[in-house]
Symmetry: D2
Subunit: 369 residues, 4 copies
């Protein structure tokens, strides 16, 4: 058997661990040949490849990044370097010319959407989910998420001491353009007083109220974790308006800084913003992510050996399984408002930035069972 493998989309801790697991399993258990496709789908379009031996993937388990390179702008159906042309035929041709029996595509929702369309063109594909945002449909967890949360938590821990010593409101903007998983998990883990996520439009007055109540209660600081995709009531338009009203719009950029401006209108405390940015998606994965990537990778290799295609490996509860690629494509998994961690955060007094919601903490989460 001859199997291609590629890594697509943004950087994500655990990519190399997954690559290693796919490659070692195919070589050791299935006597396959493994072909690395470079720079995501770019390499499939332009036939940029390298063979992958057992030795090539030895020692990469702990390393961040991907030895194959990646790209998040390499859609064969809308190819940037060719002005948005459909060059999928080139991708199919490379697959045929290389005489591949199957392709393992490691990536996020973009990569899975493309994989799904390439499946329709006859390619045998197994997907491996990755995204630090944890918002892929079909799987409860993706590798990279635990690492991103750990990094963000450690950063907020550090900022906590400054907030406390200097009596400040400190805003920390985490990644999460469409979903609030990172902000929720890192915010709760670091004891943030307010957590703002894209799933709930925040009320700046409710946030200001938290700051003031804490001040009055003698706790002269407040920590706010905000996902980059969070929005105030009024959404994108409200953000734009606040920016235009700013006396120094130059320093804005990022919802964390917009919120700081909004809060300064309401409270007297000093407010500071830190945008965590790219460091959340690089470097050595946590042990959890290494193991999740390893399990996903070995299972993808097994599915290939079983000729079980057009699926993505997945974790549901404790069960490792697979879901059709078509279920995953063009979709986002949001944080449900009854998520156990949201419930727990609210019970220990964390605000989600909406007064009414904050007040009505369900007191009986266990009665459901």
């Amino acid at each position: 058997m001859r199997v291609g493998v590629l890594t697509g989309g943004g950087d994500c801790p655990g990519l190399n661990a997954a690559l290693r697991a796919v490659t070692k399993t195919l070589i050791l258990q299935h006597n396959s040949e493994v072909v690395g496709i470079r720079d995501g789908y770019h390499g499939l379009i332009s036939r940029n490849i390298q063979s992958l031996s057992y030795q090539d993937v030895s020692g990469i388990l702990t390393r961040g990044g991907t030895i194959l390179g990646a790209s998040n702008k390499a859609n064969p159906f809308n190819y940037h370097p060719s002005g948005g042309a459909d060059v999928s035929a080139k991708a199919v041709k490379t697959y045929r010319d290389l005489d591949l029996d199957a392709l393992v595509a490691i990536g996020g929702d973009g990569t899975m959407s493309i994989a799904n369309r390439l499946s329709d063109l006859g390619l045998n594909i197994v997907g491996v989910p990755k995204t630090i945002d944890n918002d892929l449909v079909g799987t409860d967890r993706t590798f990279g998420f635990d690492t991103a949360v750990s990094i963000a938590t450690e950063a907020i821990d550090r900022i906590h001491t400054t907030a406390q010593s200097h009596h400040r409101v400190m805003i920390v903007e985490t990644m999460g353009r469409y979903s609030g998983w990172i902000a929720l998990h890192a915010g709760t883990a670091s004891g943030a007083d307010v957590i703002l996520i894209p799933e709930v439009e925040y009320d700046v007055e409710a946030v200001a109220e938290v700051c003031e109540e804490r001040e009055q209660g003698g706790q002269r600081f407040t920590i706010i974790a905000i996902a980059e995709g969070a929005k105030p009531i009024g959404g994108e338009r409200a953000v734009r308006e606040r920016i235009e009203a700013s006396t120094d719009p130059v320093r804005l950029g990022g919802i964390g800084r917009v919120l700081a401006e909004q809060l300064k209108d309401e409270i007297n405390s000093e407010v500071r913003t830190t945008i965590l940015g790219h460091m959340q998606r690089g470097g050595t994965p946590t042990s959890y992510d290494r193991n999740l990537a390893t399990i996903f990778g070995t299972r993808a290799a097994t599915l290939v050996a079983e000729q079980h295609y057009d699926v993505m490996v997945a974790l549901q509860g404790n069960t490792f399984t697979q879901v059709p690629l078509s279920d995953v494509a063009d979709n986002i998994r949001n944080v449900p408002l009854d998520d156990p961690l949201i419930q727990a955060a609210r019970q220990v007094g964390t605000s989600l930035g909406v007064s009414d919601f904050d007040r009505e903490v369900e007191t009986a989460p266990s009665s459901a069972e």
Copy 2:
């Protein structure tokens, strides 16, 4: 309502996070009074207590240890300081005198066993599971485990570079007296070549063979992760015999060192052992453990408010639920040999120290679904 809370058993990252969650939820959501019992069941027997306010548990989320103190030698039914006497009546009396409505007991299997027996004497108890070993029955995860695995993984990562540079066999002994969860997770996460756990008696010749095959394949080093409770074929007796046969028995102590002696009989490479010890159970918890402890703690408080007693909060798959204390008591949850991580480890070529088992890697884990 007036609720007691105690932390029993060995140290475990997340105890303070759980204490904080229990206390904050009881105060904020249920207007309860919270009484901290010091030093585990000791404090219940000797009435060593302190009141716990919201302020007392603020800022402890990230700290290791427990602000209440703990003890793993404080069984009221077999009390060491009283020469093994049954002093449970004293514990019951303190509970009554303090006018407690319920008691939240945070601990491991020992703590839950005692809680179960105290329930029979009329105390209203809700248990919160903790153990770094992850071997408590009734719950898929306990807090402390992810932190212990992270610490062990980081230690093995460091030892890896020495093994590689100096062409050595490096043995790392992790905690896990009765179960291999830490060794399995940290070993797989750090790419150990051999993982030895209590659930599988190891064959020293199979381990030696791995070392030699790697040497012959040009990889002049081997990493072995071994749980403290692992045993060779022949069990405890075989260990004793090897120790007695040693020319320098003084330096033995710990199965990791016994294995080193055994291997030196078989192979030429230099062999070194590191015993990770207590640093696996202290210090700041990971973000994962902080969140798990927070959810468990809030749910225990809610169960108390619902007068839902004689249970331990638990995580099963994605579902937070509760199990009867009697199910948990006097029991151990071992690593099943078809655990997904065992399967994945074997597929990437990791040995479990038994030749036959190593060879027969199941190639179709996914076919089950």
Copy 3:
């Protein structure tokens, strides 16, 4: 003896370690009473104090922040809360009323400048230097710096893997408004290809050239570490012009983002900026900073006992000594261009953003001896 102690200026890892050392030494070795002044000079002006016992400072060695609180806007000679009035008489009065024999002021150049002026008013002061920027005159090292460099290095390490996998130019903005110590040390430690510091105005074309040469040499990524106070040739005016010329000035703010815009004019690669911000100045100090703070603190206590006032403790080479407060006040210690680390960075090929300078690497640094 009765001694006051305060922590002034911005947050800095090691403040608590220094407080502990001052307090323990005064109590244990000199039988003194220690009075903590809260929120820097604020507490001296408004008589906001607390007594400090041995027990109060036990266990704070490893904690970030300061248990006394701090303020970087509390100049008694120009007091914000009183509209910039000179309220130094109040500070002197508090000192007299409290019957203090001396005051230990832990802080940066602002704190030392004020200490110097208060000395002139008759207060007995010993200064302890702290700043994460390491740019205090009179001492070769300040605590907080090693921690800031470690955090920044770890962040750049993480960003490195993304740059490499995604073939990007990644800009990381570190702290350092007036000096480049953090950017230089973290940049060199993480193998940054370009390091831009306030001491050297950078030539954007020289930076672009480095990116292109690397691209052509097959290394398809570049890491740039830039201090927040770095400026292009043309200085502040050039920055303003670039911002005004931007099509989306809203997202600017921070020299790192300005540089990204400048580079996009010159090269084709994707460019991304991360601003590390406040997380560089909070949290647990490194072992190095804990020890430096401990030595500084004990020495300050000893100077107080010896009635050796109006000085700041300092490290010069290997020698712990003290310098007059007047030498430290209103001054900055820049990175000299023949600093050993600048020389080393240039020899391994790191650019400082100026073509001519980059080319003329001195090849004989050792010939001086």
Copy 4:
């Protein structure tokens, strides 16, 4: 020019950073050819080599271990594989056959001693000092030390929480066979109550007294940092006697465990020992060690270019310089008892395990200036 480079002795974080600096500087600044000698002096004896290009050393700055391999049993004057024969002629022959102009030897005192003797046989050698123990004569700091101290400090931090929660005496054994630098720095940084180093024979009764005084003062735990080379009064003989008197000598091995036995004879508290072992010498170096290794490496390359041989690069105070190899050979740099950190540790109340010494804390360390 054609220059060989090797790494000798035990593993040490920063070896790859030094290799990279030597190689890049020689290639970029001096247009040299660089030949890597594998496995320390082994490779020189058996002509096991590889060429080192700029690309070979790119990306290794942050990695632990050494890409060349090392050996601490490869003395050409007393060669183990040849039964202790003098095979130095072979080493000289390889050097000549490879047409080397010079050799850069990165290592500790063993490596420098051999380098010194090879110099006498006509080889042009520049040494680069490394040892995690920091006990090399001629230089104030070696790379690897800061990393080892950081790891040990983090481990003691973790163990601290367990000691505190469980009211235990916790002993942590660090590396340091001949000198106490690691134990002193990690012990002070983590607030150990007792620090035992090879330079001061400890009195077990003085140690027991510290434990009891703390117990009586309400601090029901004690942390003891002990270097592996520490000895009680009576030295090696006293250790042997205690081992022989043990009822379970099997579990002894390591002075930390011997001390535990000794203490159990004297006090009632539970005592536990953790031996940190090899994890102190592997893995990613700290930013400090990366920079020190980079400076040392570039300076060694420059000395080679200047034909300035038979020296080892060194740091003295703030000055980077070099010292004759003959000064370094067969020598150890102990911790002086008036070291600033020893003074500081004693002033904050840390015991060195000798009652009289503990009591006589010098109160005037600053008067010297």
